[in-house]
């Protein structure tokens, strides 16, 4: 049987390469065509407003009249604005306490659900249902549940002899109240962690049990490392959400729940940004505030990504 051999760069090799390139180009073109609606949407409704807000942050802009370029004045003003410092402090406080608590409660509930057996389906739905509650309703719910006189929380506390605080008016207790009510929507994280738990290979537990490992050892040596990817996802997403927290606090302390009463302890950064932009019509200043928040979130996310290399395990990842 005759065989032919071609050296590299021979005509047939070149035409095969060309055909491959044409095919790839066609595929790329088709792919771009299919995603172009999203790209256009992203450019028009996300990228352009972001870029434009960067420009607005350098202007004095009242929404109606033309923006007037003022350089870095808005950023300078932020440094001198005590309410920016207060709002940042409130936001950091909320984030530092809320995110770990949120992840721990999610994990605890997911572990319980994992062991729930046949009733897991019911509890999965039960845990997820509160997530469907509109955040505005959660804000109003906060005022009812945490009412210092007749709220359910203080009533329950009184059963064990604790005289509950004035959650909704005492500045010391306003943020803890908001942190606790944020656990209302823990359901989605529970579902994600439960899915991750169900993906942990059973053989690992079997081997550990043969080696005499107890529940705690199995949890810390197998479960947590194996679901660390999902936990990291929840951690990072909730950190970003915590920095941007708005609706529940605004409803309870600045909006429908209290049209005139407010509490400095609940003045989160995005609430102050909203006030500046949409109530006081200082849209240039609000844009500068938005860019500062963007930078803060970016720095924290980058830090978390760096730390994730040390603590997060992805199946199939080579180290």
């Amino acid at each position: 049987m005759a065989t032919t051999s071609t050296s590299p760069g021979a005509p047939s090799d070149t035409s095969a390469l060309r055909a491959k390139r044409i095919s790839r180009r066609r595929n790329t073109r088709a792919a771009l065509l299919f995603i172009s609606p999203w790209i256009i949407g992203f450019l028009v409704f996300t990228a352009w407003p972001i870029i434009y807000s960067g420009y607005l942050s350098l202007t004095n802009y009242d929404v109606i009249n033309d923006p007037e370029f003022i350089g870095l004045d808005n950023y300078q003003r932020m440094l001198e604005d005590p309410k920016v410092r207060l709002a940042l402090w409130n936001t950091f406080y909320f984030t530092v306490l809320q995110v770990p608590l949120y992840v721990m409660v999610s994990l605890a509930l997911a572990l319980l659900l994992y062991k729930a057996g046949r009733s897991a389906g019911f509890f999965r739905t039960a845990f997820f249902l509160p997530k469907m509650t509109p955040p505005v309703a959660v804000g109003i719910l906060l005022l009812l549940l945490f009412n210092g006189q007749n709220g359910l929380i203080n009533t329950v506390l009184s059963w064990v002899g604790i005289d509950g605080p004035a959650w909704t008016t005492d500045p010391t207790w306003v943020k803890p109240g908001l942190i606790l009510i944020s656990l209302w929507s823990v359901g989605s994280s529970v579902i994600i962690l439960l899915a991750a738990l169900q993906n942990v290979p059973q053989e690992l537990y079997d081997s550990a049990r043969v080696d005499g490992a107890n529940w705690w050892q199995q949890t810390f040596k197998i479960t947590l490392p194996m679901i660390s990817g999902a936990m990291f996802f929840i951690f990072i997403v909730n950190t970003i959400a915590a920095f941007q927290t708005f609706t529940e606090a605004y409803t309870a302390y600045f909006g429908a729940g209290n049209t005139t009463y407010s509490n400095d302890a609940a003045l989160f950064y995005v609430i102050y940004l909203f006030q500046q932009g949409f109530e006081f019509l200082n849209m240039g200043y609000a844009s500068a505030m938005a860019w500062l928040l963007f930078l803060i979130i970016m720095v924290f996310t980058a830090l978390q990504m760096m730390l994730s290399k040390r603590f997060v395990y992805y199946e199939g990842e080579q180290r």
Partner: protein, 472 residues
């Protein structure tokens, strides 16, 4: 040559940015458009003529037809501007939506904001002066209440026509008053010492917890009322100078906060207040959880509807020298800059606020109340002539002394209203003093320090806003 994906990305990016630029509502071109619109509106002043034929469309923002008072006047106004096609985006005026529409030169033709927003809108050129509208359509502004007109007049020009009016009256639980051996005179504000004594006498605790609020001074919202009772306003008459750290304002705040301190502090009082069914038959008066408070007159209708047999007593709010006082607030009608049909808008406003329209609306309301076997408690408008005629024609003794007293107090308060002047930084001004009051209520600051900080914040905002206006 660039690879194909890059070429595509560049193309899509360029297309996106071009589209975005086209969609931009804040480009420099916009100013020209807005200016042109202003000019058009101004030029169209000659067409403000009650005999002129109208045409086109009229879009309205900030109005709702929730009851017969709105519906009857709306129907009347629609028939007057016929054949103009009227459309309403029902609901409260969304400020962001409205200002964005002005910025993109696509505003509604007519809006119904709160009167305290007029200074902010006027100073930014978002609404047009109504002088030509008033002259052309022959609107008699002398029939409107002075306080209401003051709120919609900015730098000497009228920017809106007042619609409804709200005032405050004293509301009390007569049984709690009787039990404590008190009368309405003890809680109407004429003597702050008497209110303190009444608070002490009427508030009750159950198991160490506050169960009955003796007197609610309704902070933070009613600081302007208590300041006025102490013979001082929060803002100077020209709207340029904050007076928040005036000793009389601080004194009023200290006293009003002291009322809460006598009842375990604001947090406790607010918790009791928040747990009440404010709009239901478990309201604080019906359940005997509140001795007395000042409140807007619309709450009389709520109480009459949900707890007609509750032990209630009503009077006006009085200053420390014994005169009836009330703060006036309410809605108004204004024409946005760039309105495509200011002539129709003007005639619509005229009809909505005319005495005849109010009379027809009041008649419909009185009939509806009679059908439900309930008393007609009157109708407060910015139009003093309409108020008087409505009172004469439709308000009758109900046979129940307390409701008649409520109506009398309401109408008397309406004759003694004051208001804060229009200013270009109303939102910041209000936030500054309300935040200060809240800091005191939350125990974060003393009244003097809080009002000094508020004064600084409010004056800075006023100075900046007035400087921008004066420059223009």
């Amino acid at each position: 040559m660039r690879p194909a994906p890059v070429r595509w990305l560049v193309l899509v990016t360029a297309a996106g940015l071009t589209l975005a630029a086209c969609a931009s509502g804040t480009s420099n071109d916009n100013s020209t458009d807005t200016d042109e619109s202003d000019d058009n509106a101004a030029e169209s002043g000659s067409a403000f003529d009650p005999e002129a034929e109208l045409e086109g469309e009229l879009s309205i923002m900030g109005f709702g037809m929730g009851d017969e008072i709105a519906q009857v006047r709306y129907d009347e106004a629609v028939s007057v501007v016929d054949p103009v096609e009227v459309s309403v985006a029902e609901g409260e005026l969304d400020i962001q939506q409205f200002l964005s529409s002005v910025a993109t030169n696509d505003p509604p033709d007519l809006i119904r904001p709160n009167r305290d927003q007029i200074g902010t809108f006027a100073s930014r050129g978002a609404i047009i002066p109504l002088d030509e509208c008033v002259d052309g359509e022959g609107i008699d502004t002398s029939m409107f209440r002075e306080a209401a007109i003051g709120q919609v007049t900015f730098e000497g020009q009228l920017y809106a026509i007042p619609e409804f009016n709200q005032v405050q009256i004293t509301m009390a639980n007569s049984e709690l008053l009787d039990e404590a051996g008190l009368t309405l005179d003890d809680v109407d504000g004429s003597s702050w010492e008497a209110i303190e004594a009444a608070t002490e006498a009427m508030h009750q605790k159950d198991g160490g917890k506050l169960s009955v609020i003796g007197f609610d001074s309704k902070l933070p919202e009613f600081l302007p009322l208590w300041a006025r009772a102490n013979d001082v306003a929060l803002l100077s008459d020209d709207g340029r100078t904050a007076q928040l750290d005036d000793p009389k304002v601080v004194e009023a705040l200290e006293w009003a906060v002291g009322i809460y301190d006598m009842q375990d502090g604001f947090g406790t009082v607010k918790a009791v207040r928040d747990s009440a069914d404010f709009f239901g038959n478990g309201n604080q008066f019906a359940s005997g959880e509140l001795g007395a408070m000042p409140m807007e007159q619309w709450y009389v209708n709520v109480l009459n509807d949900v707890s007609p047999d509750a032990p209630l007593a009503f009077s006006t709010v009085k200053s420390r020298t014994g005169e009836t006082i009330a703060y006036s607030s309410g809605s108004a009608w204004a024409i946005p800059a760039g309105s495509a049909n200011p002539e129709a808008a003007c005639r619509f406003i005229k009809t909505m606020t005319a005495t005849e329209s109010w009379m027809k609306a009041a008649e419909a309301r009185a009939e509806a109340r009679a059908e439900d076997d309930k008393p007609f408690t009157g109708l407060l408008t910015g139009n003093a002539v309409a108020d008087e005629q409505i009172y004469d024609a439709f308000v009758e003794p109900s046979g129940d002394e307390k409701w008649d007293a409520a109506i009398e107090a309401t109408y008397e308060a309406n004759e003694h209203t004051v208001s804060l002047p229009a200013n270009p930084a109303d939102a910041q001004f209000k936030t500054a003093w309300q935040d200060a009051v809240n800091r005191v209520l939350n125990g974060q600051q003393e009244p003097q320090a809080a009002m000094e900080q508020a004064q600084e914040e409010a004056q800075a905002a006023l100075d900046e806003a007035w400087a921008a206006w004066d420059e223009d």
